[in-house]
């Protein structure tokens, strides 16, 4: 299944690499580097099947979590995959939207592929 995936990541290099990998597997990508950019894409009529977001976005420690909550309000069927290099505590997990997936940073090409496929298949 070919899908449109919105990737949100504050590090441009990581963002570009992730987009390239995801495109390698035949998907389309949209990119945003902060919550506001991502929200304007989510508010547009653009088709988006999944959100792949870093949790720590610039100065917003839980920016990705806040974004995902607003995103599922806008698009209730949106699938969400979080990533972070920080420790995933129970407190952090409690901030996840229902049914969200998680990928630890640094992730390899294959780990990202498995996660994206798992997300789209769920």
């Amino acid at each position: 299944m070919m899908a449109m995936i919105l990737i949100v990541e504050d590090d441009v290099f990581i963002l570009e690499m992730a987009a390239m990998m995801v495109q390698d597997w035949g998907h389309h990508t949209l990119s945003a580097s902060d919550v506001d950019d991502a929200l304007s894409l989510l508010r547009s009529p653009q088709q988006i099947d999944a959100l792949f977001t870093d949790i720590y976005l610039n100065t917003a420690v839980f920016g990705g979590c806040e974004l995902a909550h607003q995103a599922v309000k806008l698009r209730p069927n949106l699938r969400v995959l979080y990533t972070t290099g920080n420790a995933v505590t129970d407190k952090l997990r409690a901030l996840f939207v229902e049914g969200a997936h998680f990928l630890r940073k640094p992730y390899t090409h294959h780990q990202l592929q498995d996660s994206i496929e798992g997300l789209l298949a769920a």
Partner: protein, 465 residues
């Protein structure tokens, strides 16, 4: 009532009684008087009250009673006289006096009933002094505290409590803690714990409450409570101490956000490296791709060790036991999954290593355990045991499996050889040695001895570098 009956009553009452005539001469006294004041009828009767027993009854307070009060009143009750009697020492007497007039006798008598209340007064004073002492101790403790009654009402609150929460003593007494202020302490979880302190003698340790307090702002309090009981008294009360941990909490939060910030950057940098490798792999011929994959996995292992080290850190050291368990858990999740027939167990003594050695230690365990998982169990079932124990002044790390064992080391393929070279490098980096082990049954066992911790646990100084 006949005279005989009256004198019988007088003789049997426990209070000391004396009868004085109008000139304050003693006309009679009862047995209790003679016993209490260690005197006899011979020494007493007919004697002027002030002359009695070397004038020991010539007491200013008694004089004022007999000379100023009695003449104007028919009776006086509860007149307290404190005096140091040469025969019986310091005493507090409660005197009741009554004028008795007989028909035809205009002058009448004065009946004095004297009760010795010295012990009762001493006990009351002692109790008052104890209370003052307790209160002064309570008031010198900087942490606010309250003593609660069985029904959770406040018996006493320390000065610090009153000052910090801006309330008066009157506002606290007899009130429940939950009724104070803006009901900040009206927390179901706290109430539930407090209800167990007295009946189950279950202290509350470190219950945290964060709220905005009028005049104080946002504060975090750490609550501790325990049962207190007085000897000889069945009543039990609860001592509840409020420790203001706002600043400590803030420092912890600052440290945590700094850790998160640093971790975020390190992981992003590692992600960039992994991304660069992945990018290279796109243009690389298929036979070489495996090498890039292994490289990415090792970088992933370092990143995970970084997390595990920060979780297992105890001050300046890393707890090896907790660290080893974390490594086992992470490897199980990433390499085996829930359905695997291969199990990783940990047997670890509580030992510590310095953080400098934690990464090579973790990579070493990772390498050995990965080798075991990859090669020992062609049938996909078995057990890998990671253990650490102290042997003399060394730590022995053992990675053992119950798999097929190594047939011939010389026949090992290139990647395995590279793996064992890594093992040798990590062991050297850790200042350790590989212990040759014979065949002790099925499977493979690798023993490595490392010097014990170079930094004393929690110690400030590095003993050797």
């Amino acid at each position: 009532m006949s005279d005989i009956a009256a004198s019988d009553i007088v003789e049997t009452v426990p209070s000391a009684l004396i009868v004085l005539d109008r000139n304050l001469n003693i006309s009679s006294a009862n047995r209790a008087f003679y016993q209490t004041f260690r005197t006899s009828p011979g020494e007493t009767e007919g004697c002027h009250i002030y002359d009695l027993g070397n004038r020991q009854w010539d007491i200013p307070a008694l004089r004022s009673l007999l000379e100023s009060v009695i003449p104007h009143r028919a009776s006086v009750e509860g007149f307290e006289v404190e005096h140091n009697f040469p025969t019986i020492g310091r005493r507090t007497m409660l005197v009741n006096a009554r004028k008795i007039l007989r028909p035809g006798d205009h002058d009448g008598f004065i009946l004095l009933a004297i009760e010795d209340v010295s012990e009762e007064r001493a006990a009351r004073n002692e109790s008052k002094r104890n209370w003052q002492l307790t209160q002064s101790i309570v008031d010198t403790i900087r942490d606010p505290l309250v003593v609660l009654e069985n029904n959770m009402t406040i018996v006493t609150a320390s000065k610090a409590f009153l000052t910090i929460f801006g309330i008066t003593e009157a506002e606290t007494q007899g009130r429940r803690l939950s009724e104070l202020g803006q009901h900040q302490w009206d927390v179901p979880a706290l109430r539930h714990l407090m209800e167990k302190v007295l009946p189950e003698n279950k202290p509350i340790e470190g219950f945290e409450i964060e709220d905005t307090f009028p005049g104080l702002g946002r504060r975090v309090f750490n609550l501790n409570a325990r049962r207190i009981s007085q000897p000889g008294n069945h009543a039990q009360r609860m001592l509840l101490v409020f420790e203001d941990i706002t600043h400590r909490k803030q420092r912890e939060r600052d440290a945590l956000s700094l850790t998160n910030e640093i971790s975020h950057r390190i992981k992003n940098n590692l992600q960039i490296i992994v991304g660069l490798i992945a990018y290279e792999a796109r243009w690389t011929a298929a036979p070489c791709v495996q090498g890039y994959k292994v490289m990415q996995a090792r970088i992933g292992a370092i990143a995970q060790l970084y997390d595990l080290i920060s979780q297992s850190s105890r001050g300046r050291t890393v707890a090896v036991d907790a660290y080893l368990r974390d490594i086992a858990k992470t490897m199980s999740a990433s390499l085996l999954g829930n359905t695997s027939g291969i199990k990783i167990d940990v047997k670890a003594e509580p030992l510590e290593i310095d953080p400098d050695r934690a990464v090579p230690f973790g990579l070493l365990v990772n390498e050995l355990a990965t080798n075991a998982i990859k090669h020992a169990f062609p049938d996909g079932a078995g057990r890998v045991v990671l253990s650490v124990e102290q042997i003399g002044d060394q730590i022995e790390l053992t990675v053992a499996d119950d798999g097929v064992g190594i047939k011939d080391e010389n026949s090992a393929k290139v990647p395995e050889k590279r793996g064992s070279e890594y093992v040798a490098i990590f062991v050297r980096q850790l200042g350790g040695t590989i212990v040759p082990s014979g065949s002790e049954g099925p499977g493979t066992i690798v023993r490595i001895r490392l010097p014990l911790l170079l930094v004393p646990p929690g110690g400030a100084e590095r003993v050797a570098a």
